[in-house]
């Protein structure tokens, strides 16, 4: 039993079947409920959690049809799932078998469900909630029979708000048949257009599409197993078959996948989703399979509520797989080379980038691009290699070309050093970096680099070097032949900073 504060009192939000029998109902105040049956157990109502759970269930129903949606949340209480199973039922051995399967699985994971199936959304909704016999778990309204099936049901089966129901009932309209007999125009005039619309929807006179949870992808394949799969090899083999089938379809349409989504529906009701991206449209099953396999291998151990490892393993078994190309792009057929074109395969590098990005994350596989700047740390930008860079946009060699020697390694954040520079504007004679003293034997400089004054302070704050002083860079070599790129942050000024001379930093390492 769930309760939530509403209108200054704590009211029941949802009640169990047993509580309903005891005369409790949603909307009752908690005090009244306690008076009726003092032994009730009350928990806080968590609408967000309910919604999330329902959405997850809708996802789970993706195994039956891509057109699955959570419904009834907005009207409160009578939450449910809507599935458009047109053309799907035969995959499960008919409508009855499909509903049996659906309700059976949900019951096994602990849900009390009732399923109704009919020609229209409204009729199915009504059948699931008000259909006779009351004890039946699944109710199937045969095709074309929905008008007859609806007729004896109470008007509450029309998905109407409570106040409308009240006023209709006060007029003696108790059954849907009573309502259907009335002229629609008069009905609409007295009760607004909703009752008439709901009636028409239930009778199939107006179309009522359901909006599925996720946009149904065009390139989507599904496979279900008579026996759930537990071994990794079996799952991989099944994924492999799906991948090949998907690639064949893509090839026929001359398309290639950019993003793949693989869903594993587990016995325990959990759905694991694995995604893989490619840097160019692909329909090579070997490559796509390798991308998916790498993600599959690193799926986290499923957290289960199962009491022992054995049943945890059973819950983790995979019953159904779906594979979808969420994003696909046109990909022309290519002529393959006549003999061993392996070495000249232009996609080979992309494939490597895909695999590396898949495992390490796109952020960790990068390409460098040059920027127009004279601040050393701003010259180099890097972008994920998966997105692909256009060398024209990033500037060619000209941008890279430094006017003066630059080190092959540059510290992103310059490190402070203690430098001894007896003569202002001369290179230091020695410096201490990370505790070690380096004696400078040779030096070159200064190369004076001024801050980019035309960039606003906001833009500058994004840079890794905080200060915006003029820097004097020196290329120095120590007595062991190691070379450093040091700079003095700011200029000496006898009047202004005699007490606090500018600081020295180490910025890079030369060869």
């Amino acid at each position: 039993m769930l309760a939530a504060p509403e209108g200054g009192a704590i009211r029941l939000a949802a009640v169990t079947l047993e509580a309903q029998k005891a005369g409790l109902f949603p909307g009752q105040t908690l005090a009244d409920a306690r008076a009726l049956s003092p032994e009730i157990a009350v928990h806080d109502h968590d609408p967000g959690g309910d919604a999330a759970a329902l959405e997850a269930l809708a996802d789970w129903c993706g195994r039956y049809t891509p057109w699955a949606a959570a419904s009834g949340l907005e009207t409160g209480g009578a939450a449910g799932l809507l599935l458009d199973v047109s053309g799907c039922a035969h995959l499960f051995g008919g409508e009855a078998a499909m509903l049996e399967d659906l309700t059976g699985r949900l019951a096994r994971v602990g849900y009390t469900v009732r399923a109704g199936l009919a020609d229209t959304t409204g009729a199915a909704w009504a059948a699931a909630r008000f259909g006779e016999p009351r004890k039946a778990v699944t109710i199937i309204v045969p095709s074309g029979e929905h008008a007859n099936a609806l007729a004896p049901l109470p008007i509450a089966a029309l998905r109407l708000p409570l106040d409308t129901l009240d006023s209709l009932e006060r007029l003696g309209l108790r059954r849907i048949a009573d309502l259907a007999a009335l002229p629609r125009a008069g009905l609409a005039r007295r009760f607004g257009e909703l009752p008439a619309r709901r009636l028409d929807q239930a009778l199939g006179e107006i179309n009522e599409p359901i909006s599925p949870r996720a946009p149904a992808p065009v390139w989507r394949l599904r496979t279900a197993f008579p026996e759930a799969l537990g071994r990794e090899e079996d799952i991989a083999a099944a994924v492999r078959n799906l991948t090949e089938a998907l690639c064949n379809r893509l090839a026929r349409a001359e398309r290639g996948a950019r993003r793949l989504e693989l869903c594993l529906y587990r016995v325990g009701g959990r759905v694991d989703t694995v995604e893989a991206g490619t840097s160019r449209p692909m329909r090579d099953p070997d490559h796509l399979m390798r991308l998916l396999k790498e993600q599959l291998d690193r799926l986290p151990e499923p957290p289960t509520g199962a009491p022992d490892p054995l049943s945890a393993a059973a819950e983790a078994m995979v019953e159904t797989l779906t594979l979808a190309a969420i994003t696909s792009e046109p990909l022309q057929m290519t002529q393959t080379g006549l003999e061993g074109g392996r070495d000249r395969d232009p996609a080979a590098l992309e494939r490597l980038v895909d695999r590396l990005s898949g495992r390490l994350g796109p952020d960790n596989v990068r390409r460098f691009a040059a920027r127009q700047s004279h601040l050393p740390e701003r010259v180099q930008a890097s972008t994920p290699a998966l997105t692909g860079t256009d060398p024209v946009k990033t500037g060619g060699h000209d941008t890279w070309q430094p006017p003066l020697p630059r080190p092959p390694r540059l510290l992103t954040r310059p490190e402070p050093v203690e430098a001894v520079a007896p003569v202002p504007d001369d290179p230091p004679v020695m410096f201490r970096w990370r505790g070690e003293l380096h004696r400078v034997t040779r030096a070159e400089g200064p190369e004076r680099i001024a801050p980019e004054w035309w960039r606003t302070p906001e833009a500058n704050s994004g840079s890794t070097v905080l200060d915006s002083n003029t820097r004097d860079y020196y290329r120095v070599e120590d007595d062991e032949g190691r070379r450093f790129w040091l700079y003095r942050d700011g200029l000496y000024d006898r009047h202004r900073n005699a007490d606090a001379p500018p600081k020295w930093y180490l910025h890079g390492f030369f060869g």
Partner: protein, 313 residues
């Protein structure tokens, strides 16, 4: 007798083929030359063998290896690529640039990801002929899985046919791991450089065993003390061209050797040429010091300081 010699020769080459494996025999036809005749002639493959991995040790002492307290403080910085290895980075960049051009394929550089420390710097690499636009940097998160993931990435890159060179900064690697990488390189025909730190004074025997085809230790040398007559104060105190001590510690089918190398800029320093890569210089042997009379005119054309002075005069 000549027949016997011929048979012996044939047997030897067959044994060599078996030892190196079928693939490496094919790949060894395409070695990556240093561009220094003495080194290329010394190496059994006429350069760095492709379809193989080579180990490049950083001979420069890291601070961290000297001071224990700093070692603990900067534990992560013992990693390659974050300390004093400008010298070996420059050396590898020189080789990678040659691979980029010679094999017409990009270079992949695999390094640990240390947040806020992306230290490879394009403009500096370009000076050694490595085009940063054709370089892919793979950053492996430096967590507990680092070794496994880095090895995996290196193996994948070595197997890929479209890669010119793979440079991998992997500190800890056992024999099995390096054998895996060597096998991957043989199958894919890749060329891999494993960059690892090492003390300057360790002997080859003290180093961990490896399946790599050759092992080098690169340390920095003081720059060239340019002997000049007219402006000694200028060149004496300038850091000249980069110099390295390149020790070939071991090579399969070859002898250890030590060379002193330097980088020669082909392009005039004052000229910011458009095609930097073509204009990038190359490795050259440092002429051994010996007692000889000073040449009368500007010596050793090719040293930039000399060229510049020759122009000015």
């Amino acid at each position: 007798m000549p027949a016997e010699a011929e048979i012996l020769q044939r047997l030897r080459s067959r044994i060599a083929a078996i030892e190196r494996g079928e693939n490496s025999l094919r790949a060894s036809q395409a070695a990556l030359p240093f561009g220094v005749d003495e080194i290329d002639a010394h190496l059994p493959w006429g350069g760095l063998a492709t379809g193989a991995i080579h180990e490049i040790l950083d001979g420069d002492d890291n601070n961290a290896t000297k001071h224990t307290e700093i070692k603990t403080k900067y534990a992560i910085q013992r990693r390659f690529g974050d300390g004093l290895n400008g010298a070996v980075t420059a050396f590898v960049a020189g080789l990678a640039g040659r691979a980029q051009q010679g094999r017409a394929a990009p270079v992949i550089w695999i390094a640990p990801r240390i947040p806020g420390r992306e230290s490879l710097y394009g403009p500096g690499l370009l000076a050694y002929g490595l085009d940063p636009a054709d370089l892919i940097v793979v950053r492996v998160p430096s967590d507990s899985d680092f070794a496994v993931t880095a090895l995996w990435a290196t193996e994948e890159a070595l197997r890929a046919p479209a890669v010119g060179m793979v440079c991998a900064e992997i500190e800890d690697m056992d024999l099995t791991a390096s054998r895996r990488l060597q096998l991957a390189a043989e199958t894919g025909g890749g060329l891999g450089l494993l960059l690892r730190p090492a003390r300057r004074d360790t002997t080859e025997n003290a180093l961990p065993p490896t399946a790599s085809v050759s092992r080098w230790r690169i340390s920095s040398l003081p720059g060239a003390p340019a002997a000049t007559s007219d402006t000694p104060w200028l060149t004496e105190n300038l850091p000249g061209q980069p110099r390295w001590q390149a020790e070939l510690l071991r090579a399969r089918g070859g002898q250890p050797q030590t060379w002193q190398l330097e980088w020669r800029d082909a392009r005039d320093n004052t000229d910011t040429g458009r095609h930097a890569r073509e204009a990038a210089g190359g490795f050259a042997l440092v002429s051994p010091l010996c007692d000889r009379p000073l040449p009368k005119k500007a010596p050793a054309a090719g040293l930039p300081q000399e060229t510049r002075r020759a122009r000015a005069s």
